[in-house]
C-alpha cells in the first residue's frame, strides 16, 4: 500500500517501501497550462532534497521541479517525451515524472499529507 505525500512546490510522491514515484499535482498542471516539454533527470542521477530535478515547460514558460526527497533516480517516464500533455491529462497518474530510491525516509516527515496539501491549496485561492 503506497502512501501519498505533497510539497509546497506542488509535487506529489507516492511512496512504497524505499521507493517514491514523483510527479506534479493537478493544481500545478492547471496553473502551468498546456505542458509542451518535460526535461527529466537521467537514471542513476543522485538528487538532493530541494535541488533541481526536472524542468516542465508550458507554452508560456519553463518551471523548475525540485527534488522532494534525496535519492537516486531509478526510472523516468519515457512517455512524457512524445506526449508531454499526459501531465495535463493525468497529472497524478500517467503523467508521473520519475522514481527515486530514498536516501533518508525521515525526509518524508517534512512533507504534507493529502489533507494538509488540500488545505494549503485552498489557502492559495
Amino acid at each position: 500500500m503506497s502512501q501519498m505525500y505533497f510539497t509546497e512546490d506542488h509535487e506529489w510522491l507516492s511512496v512504497e517501501g524505499e521507493t517514491a514515484i514523483v510527479g506534479i499535482t493537478d493544481y500545478a498542471q492547471q496553473q502551468l497550462g498546456d505542458v509542451v516539454f518535460v526535461e527529466l533527470p537521467d537514471e542513476g542521477k543522485d538528487l538532493v532534497q530541494g535541488g533541481e530535478a526536472a524542468v516542465v515547460e508550458s507554452v508560456k514558460a519553463a518551471s523548475e521541479v525540485y527534488a522532494p526527497v534525496s535519492g537516486t533516480v531509478t526510472a523516468v517516464n519515457a512517455d512524457l517525451e512524445g506526449t508531454p500533455a499526459l501531465v495535463n491529462e493525468d497529472a497524478m497518474g500517467a503523467g508521473w515524472f520519475f522514481a527515486v530510491s530514498l536516501t533518508d525516509p525521515k525526509e518524508l516527515d517534512n512533507l504534507m499529507d493529502q489533507d494538509a496539501y488540500d488545505a494549503f491549496v485552498a489557502g492559495l485561492e
Binding site: D34, F37, V59, K60
Partner: protein, 370 residues
Amino acid sequence: MTADPALKTTPLDALHRELGARMVPFAGYAMPVQYPAGIIAEHTACRTACALFDVSHMGQAYLHGDDAAAVLESLTPGSLRELKPGRQRYTVLTNEAGGILDDLMVVNCDGHKLFLVVNAGCKDADFAHIAAAAGDRARLEVLPDRALLALQGPKAAAVMAHFAPAAASMVFMDAGPLTVGGIPCFVTRSGYSGEDGYEISVAADQAENLARHFLEMPDCTPAGLGARDSLRLEAGLPLYGNDIDTTTSPVEASLAFAIGKRRRTEGGFPGADRILAELQGGVSRLRVGLKPDGRAPARAHTEIQDTTGRTIGEVTSGGFGPTVEGPVAMGYVEPAFSEPGTPVVLMVRGKPLDAHVVALPFVEQRYYRG
C-alpha cells in the same frame, strides 16, 4: 479571483472574469493570459476559425492637422505622406542612435488626421514624444476612453460580415469608420496573428456589448495574451521589448520594409545616419528565425553559438508553436550565420541543443489582399 487595485483594467475586465480568464499583470494592466480552453486551443481557434482578443491596453490617439504626416515623418523612417486616406501602415519611432523607441500602426483617416496605435508599455512616452515634436503644427488627441478588440482568423471575415457587411470589401491594411452590430467603430483589416482579421476601436462603454456580439457567433473563441504571443511568434512578428528595443535598429531587426523608398534618399528621421549606412553597408547582427531540432523550447536570452562553440547571438523570443507543433524562436545572429539552413547551437540550461536558422515566418501569413 479578486482584482489587484494597483493594476488598471480594460473595459472588458468583467467579461474576462465571467469567461473564467486567468488574469495577469501586463504593462500595468490586468489582462487575460488565457481562458479555460487553454493557450493551445485558443491558438488553434485563431488558425482554423476565429479568435477575439482584448488589446485595449494599447495606446490609441489621433494626430490632427494637415501636417500630421510630416510631423510623424520627423520621428519615423516611414513614408507616411504617401499613405492614402483609408489606408494603414506599420512603422517605427526611432531614436537619434537609430534604435527603436516603439513600433506602431498609422492610419490616414481622411487626409486631415492620423489614427495611431502604439504599444501599451510605451504609450505615455510615445505620446509625449509625438506631442513635443508636433508643437503647434499638429494636435495629438489621446483616446483613453476607447477599447480595442482584435478579431483574427480565417473565419474573422465571415464573423465580421454578419455585423458589418461592408467589412467584407476591405483588404489588408484598409481602415475606416464602420458600424458593427449597430455600434459605431473604427475598423482596420490588420492584426498581430499572421491571419486575416480586423482590429476594432470602439468607445469603452460599448466594448462589452460589441465583444458579446462576436462571442455569440459559434466560430468565435475568446483568446488571451498567451495565444497572441505564440501566434505572433509563428508569424515572425517582433514583440517590442523582446525582439526590438532602443538598441536594435530597424535594419538589424529585419524591418527594412518599413523604411520608405523616399526616406532612403531624403533621410530626415532620428538615427538616419546609422540606419541609412546599415542599408548600404550591412549590419553586425540580424533578426532571424530559429528552429530547435528537438522538442525543448529555447526561451528569450538563450545564448546562440556556432558549431565550434563561439557565441554568435541571443534568442529574443522563444517558445512552443502550436501550429508548428514544436519549439520556435527568433533572435539575433551575426550576418554570416543568417542564411536559412545554417546550423547553430542553443545553450539551454547549460546544455547545447542543435538548431537551424530558418526563414520567417514559421507559419505563412494569410492576409486578405483582395
